[in-house]
Amino acid sequence: MESIYLDHAATTPMHPDVIEEMVPVYKETFGNPSSVHQFGRSARRLLDQARRTTASSIGANEKEIVFTSGGTEADNLAIIGTAIANQQKGKHIITTSIEHHATLHAVESLEAQGFDVTYLPVDESGAVKTEDVQQALRDDTILVSIMMVNNETGVIQPIEEIADLMNSHQAYFHSDIVQAYGLLNINVKELPIDLLAVSGHKINGPKGVGFLYVREGTQLATLQHGGEQERKRRAGTENVPAVKGFEKAVEIITEKRTSYREAYRRYRNRFIETLKEESVNYSINGAEDKTMESIVNISFPGMNVETLLTNFDLSGVAASSGSACTAGSVEPSHVLSAMYGAEDDRTTNSIRFSFGLANNDDNVEQAAKKVSQIVHRLSD
């Protein structure tokens, strides 16, 4: 039985055109972009081209793009890199309690080194409040790091408002846009933000590649020292074929953004409608009017995450209980705990369904029916 994949927020299948784009690069343009001979130069040309494409996808200048090994590295570079380079201006950092672990554990490592971190709360809507950011800002704040779309609930954070607020403050503003990039239109010409982290494998690109947008003039220390690649901001032989595949994924999602979003909105509505039609007892986590169409996080009262996931899986529905990076062991979600309090049942009875290329109207409805059956069976 072919499983129905509803876990696109964890990772996505590569678009067939992406692999097709990569293979000839592996075969023919395998040179090291730092080599001065023709093999090196043609690899460099591909790299430059990909840099221009990714830069223009967010209205940036190509010099402002640093290719990384993924979203985690981009977040770490943004956070640790700015903290280390700007600590003479202050040691206070603001983030939220619903960030991905790539952010949370990076700021925790800074805390251990003497930085002072404020973790902003969220309310039941799953969004941080701009006023809270305003109140937390201090003279010695050097960095604010807030994600654009939460990976567990899909709730969109008020990044524009916060960016406007921050405009008059010395602190840099970083946003983890791993779950937003591609589907939301993001333009750094209009959005006064300093750093943005993106991952390839969440947009049907290859794993092991991502980028960090770094606004020109931003003081950033490097994490990985060595050669002079990526304008000395990230040493290491450039992964040209993966970057090339990533570029293709960026082109596809930019072009198809509207139709993808329409499709995901349909899937999401169909999924919820079906649960309703099947009289399932459920509630949606996070304010629906503020949620990305690609993610829905649903609480099933009286149920238990592990039992649900196991049974969904056995019936051929692949979903997650939240951030995949912690899902290996199913712990209460730190995001839902921040929204509802650690004692709330929803932290241990909620499932994240996330839509993408592996879906169509049919398999989404099928999945919703299976989910309904299982929930009914388990509540008997």
Binding site: S35, A102, G227, T310
Partner: protein, 380 residues
Amino acid sequence: MIYLDNSATTHPHEEVLRSYQKVADVYYANPSSVHRFGSEVERLLQQSRTQAAQLFGVHSREVIFTSGGTEGNNMAIKGIAFMHQNRGKHMITSSVEHPSVMEAFRALESLGFEVTYLPVDSEGKVQPSDVSDAMRKDTILVSIMSVNNELGTIQPIREIGQIVRPFPKAFFHVDHVQGLGKIDLPIKEYAIDLCTVSGHKIHGLKGTGALIVQNNVSLFPLLHGGGQELEARAGTENLAGNVAFVKALRLLLEKKEDKRAHMSSLRNQLWHDLIENQQVVINSPKNGAPHILNFSVPGYRPEVMIHALGEEDIFISTKSACSSKEPDVSAILQACGLNSDRTTSALRVSFSYENTEDELRTFVQTLNSKIEKLQATMGR
């Protein structure tokens, strides 16, 4: 086309590429997801870790997949420094290391660590007695490469391991990026605590590699986030890349004696043919690694030679690709105490087991005729 720049990067093996494509296409799930699809990917990840471990003669818990050699070196050096600084802040390396080692140490110096850079002899070799003399009570790391990337010099790793072993506070790291497959390096027997390898130098893919970390060695992570790679390296795993890396490793070690014998015989032939030309001076040691031969043609700028050879579809390099942007002088040859005639005119030929005698003969003939032509235009 004659590609003789395999120390900069290699072209991926056909079978490696096929493994990558297949795994990327079919097994795309996130191994941290708890559904079967994720578990299947997790199983394949473990399997490739176990296979890599077998090939390196270590335990599977000792293999950490990375994005390449630069990351491995940074992770080892900074990871030891930050984790064990309470034991001491002194570290030892050589003056001929790759920039990814050298620059990592320079960064640590700026944070208050003390680094001893050992000198080398005229062949680029570190003297074990210098290591002994440099060892102190507060030494926490010795980092020496197995094979130098510009000269092919093989360092006395075994002897150095014996020197470091009795110091309970000191760890031993080896940058084995250039040595992998070319020389034997029994990790346990040589008392190596940390060993860096990279995929794209062995007909694998860019953006892949591993750091071997002995069980009892704890590292402060370079990338914080999810608990991937046994909590040592956060970021969604690049299963397809890792499988491709293990495939490349296996192909490399298959009939490794034959491959080495073939490369050695190529190197001997090349050596012999080159010294026929009175203008050529060999810089590599006679008993160096089988795949690298470095020589100078004093009076001729390496860039000019590379360009002239490039016109005939022959690709060699100056020094390490990573530092190709610096002026023509080789810091490595300088460290060997060679005069500026030689340090400013060095060329590196590096082959793979796939190169042939004919290719090398053509190379030497072309080189000789280019030198003659340049000599004529320069009016000598």
